[in-house]
Amino acid sequence: MATLVSHPDEVRIVSKRFGQGATKIDRYLELDGYKAVRKALGMQPDAIINEVKNSGLRGRGGAGFNTGLKWSFVPKQSVKPKYILCNGDESEPGTCKDRLIFEEDPHSVIEGVIIAGLAVGASSGYIYIRGEYRYLLEIMQKAIADAYAKGFLGKNIFGSGRDFEVYWHGGAGAYEVGEESALMESLEGKRGVPRIRPPFPAVVGLWGGPTVINNAETLASVPPIILAGAEWFANLGTPKNGGTRLFCLSGHVNKPGVYELPMGYNLKKMIYEVGGGIPNGRKLKAVVPGGSSCPLLTAEEIDLPMDFDTLMKAGSMLGSGGVVMVDDSTCMVKFALRIMKFYQHESCGWCIPCREGTDWLDKTLTRFHSGGGIRKDIDNIQYLSENMLGRTFCPLGDAAALPTISIVKKFRKEFEDHLEGRPCPFEKKGTVEQLPVFA
């Protein structure tokens, strides 16, 4: 079980029931649970969509698309059934927020799924949980069963005359399946490979039916919006970046953990006040602002508000809320290598640039970090990454390329320090196997 952390600057909306025993349905009900869905049952679908749209809620999975707008793309009439799909395949290194929601407040996700269903006219939903989160599946299974037992799911939910079914599904261990179309493939029992778009899921999604796919945190943010209103939520954040979000602080930071902070919270403040600064008196070297896919920010670049648009302007991304601190004892070549190993392992292999690019970058970085690098490699690492960027079938290739490009650009000197057979300046002597230099 995760240890919960807290800080006075936190604004607890999604995390308000964390540590309150809300996995039990009765406790959830005591804490305003299933009130929002009761309210939504009395609203017109368009009113629900507008409420969410106006709240400025943007997708918490990383892409940051306006949730209400996404819902509005679902056709009103459809021959095929419509579906709500909760993306709980949280696999981004540095991101661990959905895990807490499933663990501490599973009913908030179920409630969000039902409300999304009411908004778009779907009568069933799937909650897809990352394969490695096996223990969370049990919690979710129980929550769903309890909701059925109370009549909140199934036929005639809340005595409204409406039906709504919710199913859980466990992943099989693929980062790629966090991509929404690959997730649908996986859910349908196929290889977890993304689909060609268009058609977009809102039109042709799961089993060919119109489908809304939202991140677990996004869906858990919906009930409070329905209860307290769009304006209230929007005012919590900065313009166009409504509400709060769960930031996952990790790496070289004194108080790691998941904190719910208003959108637009200053990153520097987040690191030094909320996170308590860098341990052992070391200096901050770099920050991964939103999960491993994001370009790194140097210590000089961190005085900025954490919202989607500002981060974009700063050449990075807000991503999925995984904020990873890197101190000055870290070898950035090794950091790039570690990230690349992850993407090489997780590339689904569908398209050439991601499959081959990550493999070669992994090999080249491994050799480079081990002292076998030549000057040409530095340009080559950048060349490969830049030629992957924007040309892969899905964003996984970008996710591998972006941090790599930023590391080569911002920390080129560290690469040069590895040249000419010199051992890694950050590693203890003898811990890295030295490879010969091919010149």
């Binding site: 392992h345 040309r391 079938f393």
Partner: protein, 783 residues
């Protein structure tokens, strides 16, 4: 026909392009001659967007877009070539080559490899990588399929053609990322139809053919597009030939020329089963029985001997004492010549062949009803298909491909009526299982007195649906014959626009029927007893029907039949004839192998096969196509030449059989054909020697002239035919036909891996059969 789709206007590289809405950008570019490169895109297979080679710049889009997945929209402005795009493609090739073994010098695909071509067009000359490549040993998946993983670029074409095209689904992808690999359905091997489509469609040398690998370099072969000699569907197969010490050796069959009626398709037989031609059991010289044993003889000796003995019989007892059995695998020209030889030179109607379908009844049912027959292309485009009897997946692989892909790509409705749950029911909108042949009749006739039966009511529902179809093609197998064909034609007449297709079994079964290898029918299904143009033109024609095959063998027992001339057929093996009944009959056999029939013959003449000669075949739909000479075995002669030589040896004026002399027609490919450039070489040689093109008595073109002149329905465009295109003949224009004795119609019952006598001599087919999981062993049929 549906309304013409709305045209959308786009601009590609500054050129205006108009194409129907929904057209893929990559296809729209082709219409103005702009080739956008791709590995994974393949027309008519599902879209992948995986190889990223077709990236283009579409105005207003932030990223480069894949032309293979982008549908055109009005006003779209596209750039397909720029520094940015070339760099993107170059880097894709570089990344692919990173793990590619670059063993091009020994790779089968070297010289005809899309990766090589793409590297030539876009690739970098310098390697950026010094890392070790991933290596995995090659695997043999079946007798004909090998997989070399390191060469694979993961375009997934093989997976799709196997699943979507063939409905076999024997290939898949295992693992992920850089270690993703194509895998066969049975762990380490394939259980499939062995069609080799995966090999053909592979852009590189990852999938190679067991029959061809490491045999030659592609540029050392000449490529001859000809018609397959196995089943009756008439696929075009491109044979790669190379000089050998016995003439020209066929080393490969494939489908590189996609212009045939088969488009992308070839089955195992068209692709690999040319190897009977190189079988070591092949006869290499004429044999004459002396002292009870067949001993080698010269050609002159053999022809003289046959001529003398035939002449003796003719002088003593006349043509009625001689029987002629023709082939379902010889050309139209040879079949026509053979029956003309029988009727004009021998003066007999004792001529027959192995009948596998009741084409005379088909002719009778459709007499005068033009436009009522379906071509192989019609099967692919029909909006609905009714398939009665037969199992095309096994017996007519191309037909099955056409049906499947019509259903898949055009949403055609398939109605299957069969006594067995055949595989094509998977594509069927309706499957009606009948239990016996009488049920077929009832299904057709709709005997109302039986309508109270529940199943019969189901049939009525199917019949009603069929009657509502526009553009129905009705395909039937040998289960339907005689009067039933009449009934079926009546049913077809009740469905506006319906067309019929009658399934025979061998490569030129239809041609043999059309060319009059019948004791009672002349070419074009005209009765022998009539007085038509054949009688006028040929002067002497016996008016009474002759003996059929069964009657001929009965007559050998009674001594009525003194001589038997068998061409490319094995009636002794097929009909299980007692050898002793032939001991007083002079038997001449023209064949490639010492078949059961040849082994009993007095003279055996080694014949060239369909891949070693020029001529035409008519497939079971009535589509006529050209054969071009590919292989050559210098010790064998085409049947055409042998028939002329025997006529000559009898003392018959061969000009009455084959008009020849100064040629007025193009070379039909008696030399190796225009595709290889040899026709041009021949023309240059003639010019250099001050000679004019002149036809020899052995050139089938003169006979084709006569066929086109005298057989109604065969007057198709010669230009199209010579160009290698299929032409649909019209059986409706032919004679009145007749209903045959159904006992004479014996289906070949070949499956995917058998092909009558030829199949017995194909090492590849035999090795595949031996490697299959054991199934109830049906005897391999003979022909």
């Amino acid at each position: 026909m549906a309304d013409a789709p709305k045209l959308v206007n786009i601009t590609v590289d500054g050129k205006p392009v108009a194409a129907p809405a929904g057209t893929l950008l990559i296809e729209a570019c082709k219409t103005v001659g702009i080739e956008v490169p791709s590995f994974c895109y393949y027309p008519n297979l599902s879209l992948q967007g995986a190889c990223r080679m077709c990236l283009v710049r579409v105005e207003k889009m932030p990223k480069l877009q894949t032309a293979c997945t982008t549908g055109i929209t009005e006003g779209m402005v596209v750039v397909t070539d720029s520094d940015e795009i070339r760099q993107a493609r170059k880097s894709m090739v570089e990344m692919l080559l990173g793990n590619h073994p670059l063993d091009c010098p020994v790779c089968d695909a070297g010289g005809e490899c899309e990766l090589q071509d793409m590297t030539f067009s876009y690739g970098a000359a310098e390697s950026k990588f010094i890392e070790l490549k991933q290596h995995r040993d090659e695997q043999q998946w079946s007798p004909v399929v090998y997989f070399d993983r390191p060469r694979c670029i993961l375009c997934y074409r093989c997976v799709r053609v196997c699943g979507e095209g063939m409905d076999v689904w024997a290939l898949g992808v295992d693992n992920r990322g850089a270690v993703s690999t194509i895998v066969p359905n049975k762990q380490d091997h394939l259980e499939c139809e062995e069609c080799g489509m995966c090999i053909d469609i592979c852009p590189v040398g990852a999938l190679t053919s067991g029959a061809y690998r490491y045999k030659t370099r592609p540029w050392e072969m000449k490529h001859v597009g000809t018609t397959c000699t196995h089943c009756a569907d008439g696929c075009k197969t491109t044979l790669g030939v190379r000089r050998s010490d016995t003439g020209m050796e066929i080393v490969r069959g494939d489908n590189r020329d996609k212009s045939g009626i088969n488009g992308d398709f070839l089955c195992i037989k068209g692709r690999y089963a040319f190897d009977f031609a190189n079988n070591e059991d092949r006869l290499t010289q004429p044999l004459i029985r002396k002292g009870g044993r067949l001993v080698p003889a010269t050609w002159e000796e053999a022809f003289e001997f046959v001529g003398r003995r035939f002449k003796e019989v003719l002088d003593r007892e006349g043509g009625r004492a001689i029987g002629v059995i023709g082939s379902t695998r010889t050309t139209n020209e040879e079949n026509y010549l053979l029956q003309k030889f029988a009727r004009v030179a021998l003066g007999t109607n004792n001529i027959d062949h192995h009948r596998t379908a009741d084409f005379p009844a088909f002719a009778a049912a459709l007499h005068g009803k033009s436009g009522a027959t379906a071509s192989m292309r019609d099967v692919y485009n029909a909006s609905a298909i009714l398939l009665i009897g037969n199992d095309p997946t096994e017996e007519h692989p191309l037909l099955a491909w056409q049906i499947r892909n019509n259903v898949r790509l055009h949403n055609a409705r398939l109605y299957v009526v069969n006594s067995r749950p055949i595989k094509l029911r998977r594509q069927a909108a309706s499957f009606t299982q009948v239990t016996s042949e009488t049920d077929f009749t009832e299904f057709l006739g709709g005997d109302e007195s039986l309508a109270s039966f529940a199943t019969r009511e189901g049939w009525n529902a199917v019949r009603d649906k069929l009657r509502a179809e526009q553009g129905l093609v009705i395909i039937f197998g040998s289960e339907i014959f005689g009067e039933d064909i009449q009934a079926l034609a009546r049913f077809a007449a009740s469905v506006p626009g319906a067309k019929l297709l009658c399934l025979g079994d061998y490569a030129n079964s239809r041609g043999a029927a059309d060319m009059g290898l019948y004791p009672d029918l002349l070419p074009g299904y005209f009765p022998v007893s009539g007085a038509g143009k054949f009688h006028q033109e040929w002067k002497i024609t016996p008016a009474a029907p002759g003996m059929n095959i069964g009657q001929m063998f009965e007559a050998t027992k009674t001594g009525q039949l003194k001589a038997l001339y068998v061409i490319g057929a094995n009636p002794v093996g097929r009909l299980n004839v007692n050898p002793s009944t032939l001991k007083n009959t002079f038997v001449v056999v023209q064949d490639m192998f010492l078949t059961e029939t040849a082994a009993l013959a007095d003279v055996v003449l080694p014949a060239a096969n369909a891949y070693e000669k020029a001529g035409t075949f008519t497939n079971t739909c009535g589509d006529i196509q050209i054969l071009k000479k590919a292989g050559e075995v210098t010790t064998a002669k085409p049947d055409f030449e042998m028939i002329v030589r025997i006529a000559d040896a009898i003392g018959f004026d061969v000009r009455k059989l084959v008009p020849f002399g100064h040629g007025v027609h193009a070379d039909m490919g008696q030399s190796r054909g225009a595709q290889s450039g040899e026709a041009d070489q021949h023309a240059v040689w003639l010019e250099a020697n001050g000679l004019e093109p002149k036809m020899s008595p052995f050139d089938p073109v003169a006979t084709l002239d006569e066929i086109q002149r005298l057989v109604p329905g065969y007057d198709v465009s010669r230009t199209e035919l010579l160009a290698g295109n299929d032409q649909h003949t019209s059986i409706a224009a032919m004679g009145p036909g007749t209903v045959q004795n159904p006992e004479l119609i014996v289906p070949a019952k070949n499956n995917l891996f058998s092909s009558g006598t030829l199949g017995r001599y194909s090492r590849t087919l035999n090795s595949v059969i031996e490697n299959k999981d054991p199934e109830p062993a049906d005897a391999v049929p003979t022909d």
